[in-house]
């Protein structure tokens, strides 16, 4: 009986003061705290699910009427979340490639299996590290920005104004971000793959004396196209998680500036958490499928 358009954007209830001063004067016990925490977590999970549902509904409507899709906002978001993130993603995955090769070098040298550094770097970067590090950087960089932007707009009545002007906030603010990130994150992952392998390749040559030619030759035999696609294929899912969680936490902002900060922190923590959980689930699924 409360058809507020976005289930998460609740007006700050004036009676909230009551909750803060419990009727019993004694401080809440441990069990009460655990219970409240559990209830809040369940409530939040439910709200997240309904937010996902509303977004699915809105995107279905947009797909039926492609003229409603805001291409300018999508392109803008691809640039700010994707293109502008190239330097940091490139640098970090390059360093990650170096670290992986460096750690492996000692062990491989003991067995005289120097050439297998290509297997090590190729498989670990392409399957796991590149998608994961890219998603984590983007969660910290763009997910937080989404939460802060939407949260600030909620505080300054911009979201309300948008609704009263007959513009659906989901179509204007959320869908372009989700679509943009689903496009940008796989591309960033491919870039991170390349930079990671480059880092490993340089380390292989300086530490193990494996030349670039040999390395690439071995790499093409060691890494199947499936492994590559498995890594890149995870990126759109991570992208959806990051964008949805960031926007969701933004819409939950109520009150003032400190709330914006809190929701932003929450969006980063939750999206990184969910990305890693999703990655673990992918690993299980792929091993069951023998990929």
């Amino acid at each position: 009986m409360k058809p507020v358009r976005i289930a998460t954007a609740k007006p700050a209830p004036a009676g909230v003061v009551k909750k803060m001063t419990p009727s019993a004067s004694s401080p809440p016990g441990t069990f009460e705290n655990i219970g409240r925490g559990a209830a809040a977590a369940v409530e939040q999970a439910g709200a997240l699910l309904s937010f996902i549902g509303e977004n699915a509904f809105a995107s279905a409507k947009s797909l039926a009427q492609p003229s409603r899709i805001r291409w300018r906002a999508i392109l803008y978001n691809i640039r700010s979340a994707g293109f502008d993130a190239l330097p940091i993603v490139g640098l970090l995955s390059f360093l990650l490639g170096i670290v992986v090769a460096y750690q492996g070098a000692d062990q491989l040298r003991q067995y005289g299996a120097n050439i297998f550094v290509a297997d090590l770097v190729g498989l670990s970067m392409l399957r796991e590290f590149a998608p994961l590090i890219t998603a984590i950087i983007i969660a910290g960089r763009s997910g937080s920005a989404y939460a802060a932007q939407i949260g600030t707009m909620a505080v300054t009545e911009e979201i309300d104004a948008m609704r009263t002007l007959g513009i659906a906030p989901l179509e204007m603010l959320v869908l372009p971000k989700i679509i943009a990130l689903i496009i940008a994150l796989p591309l960033l992952t491919v870039f991170a793959d390349g930079m990671g392998v480059l880092g490993g390749m340089i380390m292989a040559r300086t530490q193990l004396g494996v030349g670039y030619g040999e390395f690439l030759d071995r790499l093409s035999k060691a890494v199947s196209i499936t492994s590559y696609l498995v890594g890149v294929g995870k990126a759109p899912v991570f992208a959806a998680i990051i964008a949805v969680v960031g926007c969701f936490q933004g819409f939950r902002t109520q009150g003032g500036a400190d709330s914006v900060g809190r929701q932003t922190t929450r969006s980063v923590v939750q999206s990184i958490f969910l990305v890693i959980v999703a990655d673990a689930l992918f690993s299980i699924a792929f091993s069951v499928l023998d990929l």
Partner: protein, 284 residues
């Protein structure tokens, strides 16, 4: 609870609220609100902090639904409204938010033109021209159009927000605390602007305010909200004669008396010429 008004019998009702109840959890905000807003009048809702006037406004503009009761705007029931009907209604009213609600990523001119860009197929040139005309209507200089909302003063922000609310030429205008947070001179400016708008034919204005000067100068009818109910409705003069304590509290402070004395001169609010430099007084 409607007080006697000297308005003719066959007035058209724009907003009709009956038995509206709203709760936030345990906290009861409205327990049966009945209100009628007539066409082409300036209707004000007043009440102390926490009396639920902002919630009432949010319910009128489809940002929130009451727990029970019905709200009809232009004869359309706001409950379970399909998206298309809601959009059609939203195009017929404009809202000026307390803090402006301007989009900080757009310039003032883009903000004002946004509703046209969204809902019409006009050319960019024509949209900019219309937006500039609305800026002129609210007495903002053309240069302001190129500025971003963060660069504006409080008074300019409210004017820009008003220009945006007016850009689709609405029949109904909602003002949320139009003078709150403004210095006396800017507040007087806003008073005059509202008077100017009221004189445009047919525009109905609903506002929420604490500002007694504004009430005495521009409001045709005022509803006093307290304890979740409408305590009384009528012109300021009628309310000033009522006995309920919730209403008396608005008229019995020293600030209230000063405002009343200034405005209860015989030619009350039918003329546009008013002394322009006077202190503003508000109820807190």
């Amino acid at each position: 609870m409607t007080g006697p008004t000297e308005a003719p019998q066959a007035v058209q009702t724009v907003i009709e609220m009956s038995k509206v109840c709203t709760r936030f959890g345990e906290h009861i905000v409205h327990s049966g609100i009945d209100l009628d807003v007539h066409q082409a009048e300036v209707f004000a809702v007043i009440g102390g902090s926490g009396s639920g006037k902002s919630t009432l406004l949010r319910e009128m503009i489809l940002l929130q639904q009451p727990n029970s009761g019905s709200i009809r705007v232009f004869g359309v029931d706001l409950k379970n409204l399909p998206d298309e009907a809601a959009l059609a209604l939203r195009k017929r009213w404009g809202v000026m938010f307390q803090h402006g609600g301007l989009f900080s990523s757009l310039t003032v001119l883009e903000n004002v033109g946004l509703p046209l860009r969204e809902h019409t197929n006009l050319s960019d040139h024509l949209i900019d021209e219309t937006a500039a005309a609305k800026l002129a209507l609210v007495d903002l200089l053309p240069e302001v159009g190129a500025q971003y909302p963060a660069e504006l003063s409080g008074g300019m922000m409210k004017r820009a927000s008003l220009a945006r609310a007016l850009v689709l030429d609405p029949e109904l205008l909602f003002l949320d605390e139009p003078t709150a947070g403004l210095d006396p001179a800017s507040a007087t400016g806003v008073d005059e602007l509202i008077l100017k708008l009221r004189d445009r034919s047919g525009l109905t204005i609903v506002m929420i305010t604490h500002d007694l000067d504004l009430l005495w100068r521009v409001a045709d009818r005022v509803a006093v909200l307290a304890d979740g109910k409408v305590q009384g409705t009528g012109s300021m003069l009628e309310l000033a004669r009522m006995e309920q304590s919730a209403i008396r509290s608005f008229f019995d402070g020293p600030r209230a008396r000063a405002a009343q004395q200034q405005h209860s001169a015989p030619n009350k609010h039918k003329i546009n010429k008013e002394p322009s430099s006077k202190p503003k007084s508000t109820i807190h």
